[in-house]
């Protein structure tokens, strides 16, 4: 049971046994991407007024915190940062049930705000769909935008990211693994591939 429940806790995370095929981003690359995305968010929204960040658990949360830090460095004010757990909004409970359910903590009222959802990997788009549904249970945002560290393609829903750290064309057999210091001890993005 335990092994079952621990699988697939993060977006696009492969099984730990898959061999690493390529290193995509090093720690410094990730830092630069976050900095650029923070600038893009501020440029697009003309500043940090009414801006809030909502990280999608788990790895979207530390990324949202980092974007919050970058925005603060640029603008002098830190936008509120929250965490969104989308387990109860997924459409695939029939085939795959997340057991590592976390808690949603949104320390702000979303109504009237520009909410930037933050996740590590954008793939099918199903997590983002669930996140939008979860978010609107808390109120009516003025706008919802999406920031992801990696966009690996293969969308199954009409969803696209507004801010992208890196576009990374992949095959279905590959998996993108984002490791973050806050959770995994060090920053790194790799592509792994299951042995065929």
């Amino acid at each position: 049971m335990d092994s079952l429940f621990s699988s697939g806790a993060s977006s696009g995370a492969p099984s730990a046994t898959s061999p690493v095929k390529a290193v995509v981003l090093e720690s410094s690359d990730i830092a630069r991407a976050m900095k650029r995305m923070a600038h893009e968010i501020l440029e697009r929204n003309h500043g940090a007024d009414g801006l809030v960040l909502a990280g999608i658990r788990r790895r979207g949360v530390p990324l949202a915190e980092r974007l919050g830090d970058e925005v603060e460095r640029i603008e002098g004010v830190r936008p509120p940062v929250g965490a969104l757990d989308v387990s109860f909004y997924r459409d695939d409970i029939e085939i795959r049930q997340p057991a590592d359910v976390g808690q949603t903590t949104l320390p702000f009222d979303v109504t009237g705000k520009i909410v930037v959802l933050v996740d590590d990997v954008l793939y099918t788009g199903r997590t983002v769909r669930a996140a939008i549904e979860a978010l609107v249970d808390f109120g009516r945002p003025r706008a919802v935008q999406l920031a992801v560290l990696i966009d690996r393609g293969h969308r199954e829903l009409p969803i696209r990211a507004d801010y992208i750290g890196k576009n990374l064309p992949t095959s279905h057999r590959e998996a993108v693994e984002v490791r973050l210091a806050e959770i995994d001890g060090a920053d790194l993005v790799v592509i792994t591939e299951e042995p065929s």
Partner: protein, 314 residues
């Protein structure tokens, strides 16, 4: 997760931890303006109650509704088909034919949920069978204890009252000892079952001697409907010897908590003012009951046993 929940014995400590941890997330859902999530949309849960119950049935109904499941209530009262002579098995097969996904069953006979589980495809959850078990009560009690103590390990819990007729006590002892707590059963000798040795709990007939050692004082309801069995002379005498009043609360450790599965008989097993003390968490137990039952329904009706590695997650 298990397909049916008939007894606490079915669950491993790690499965119990998972139920409690997942319940944390549902506690948060219960604090929102919209206290409902869509995850069990399209599923049907049937509350099949052959014995009167208000709080357990409402708690399950609310839990299922907050998960967006559809709920039907089948109560074995004078108006139902049971009064027309339909057997338990026929009722089960009727529900089966209607395609329910889970059946929450309460029955006055021990073992009825177990029987039911062999007749139907649906998941069966025991909501109390005779004097046998009430596993979801034990899980919500564990959850409520966990909010006050960092670990179950070594925790001393006293369960006071009518142990003989209590499914709450049976499931509670099983769950607490499994998690490493020490349980002492306290009550008049007439209300302690004869074969108590196999329970893995201590027995004491000295409430005031035990109280100073306990972290949790769990009071059982005096089942007034059993008055004619002559096991206790009078309710007043019960209150005098076994009731928790202010004087006895003074004997408890400062951080010890008071619990009760409800409904309370104020002035019998618990003095009216004691029930309202800060350290009495009886109302929290009710709130937690909904979250724990949501957690169970979610874990039992989901795909936890069907891992599909190739399904993309992003």
């Amino acid at each position: 997760m298990v397909k049916h929940l008939l007894s606490i014995d079915q669950l491993s400590p790690s499965q119990i931890e998972l139920v409690l941890k997942t319940a944390d997330s549902f506690r948060e859902v219960g604090t929102r303006t919209i206290k409902k999530v869509p995850i069990l949309r399209g599923r049907t849960v049937c509350n099949l109650f052959f014995e009167s119950s208000t709080r357990t049935r409402i708690s399950f109904e609310l839990a299922a509704k907050r998960l967006s499941a559809d709920v039907i209530n089948f109560t074995g009262d004078a108006r139902s088909s049971l009064a027309k002579g339909e057997s338990f098995k026929d009722t089960a097969q009727t529900l089966q034919a209607m395609g329910v996904d889970a059946i929450v069953v309460r029955h006055s006979s021990a073992g009825a949920p177990h029987r039911l589980s062999r007749w139907v495809e649906a998941s069966v959850i025991n909501a109390g069978d005779g004097a046998h078990e009430h596993p979801t009560q034990a899980l919500l009690d564990l959850y409520s204890i966990r909010e006050h103590f960092p670990s179950f390990d070594g925790l001393r819990v006293g369960i006071v009252g009518d142990i003989l007729h209590s499914r709450v006590a049976r499931s509670g002892v099983a769950a607490l000892t499994k998690m490493g707590s020490q349980v002492t059963l306290v009550g008049p000798p007439t209300l302690i079952p004869p074969a108590i040795e196999g329970w893995g709990a201590e027995v004491s007939y000295d409430l005031e001697g035990v109280l100073p050692k306990l972290d949790v004082v769990y009071l059982l309801r005096v089942q007034k409907e059993r008055q004619n069995e002559q096991l206790v002379p009078t309710l007043r005498e019960y209150a005098t010897f076994w009731g928790l009043d202010r004087r006895r609360v003074e004997l408890m450790k400062p951080e010890a908590i008071i619990m009760h599965p409800g409904p309370m008989n104020r002035g019998v097993e618990i003095a009216a003012d004691v029930a309202d003390l800060e350290r009495s968490i009886i109302i929290d137990q009710v709130t937690n009951g909904v979250a724990v039952r949501m957690s169970l329904l979610y874990l039992m009706l989901g795909a936890a046993d069907r891992a599909v590695e190739e399904v993309p997650v992003g």
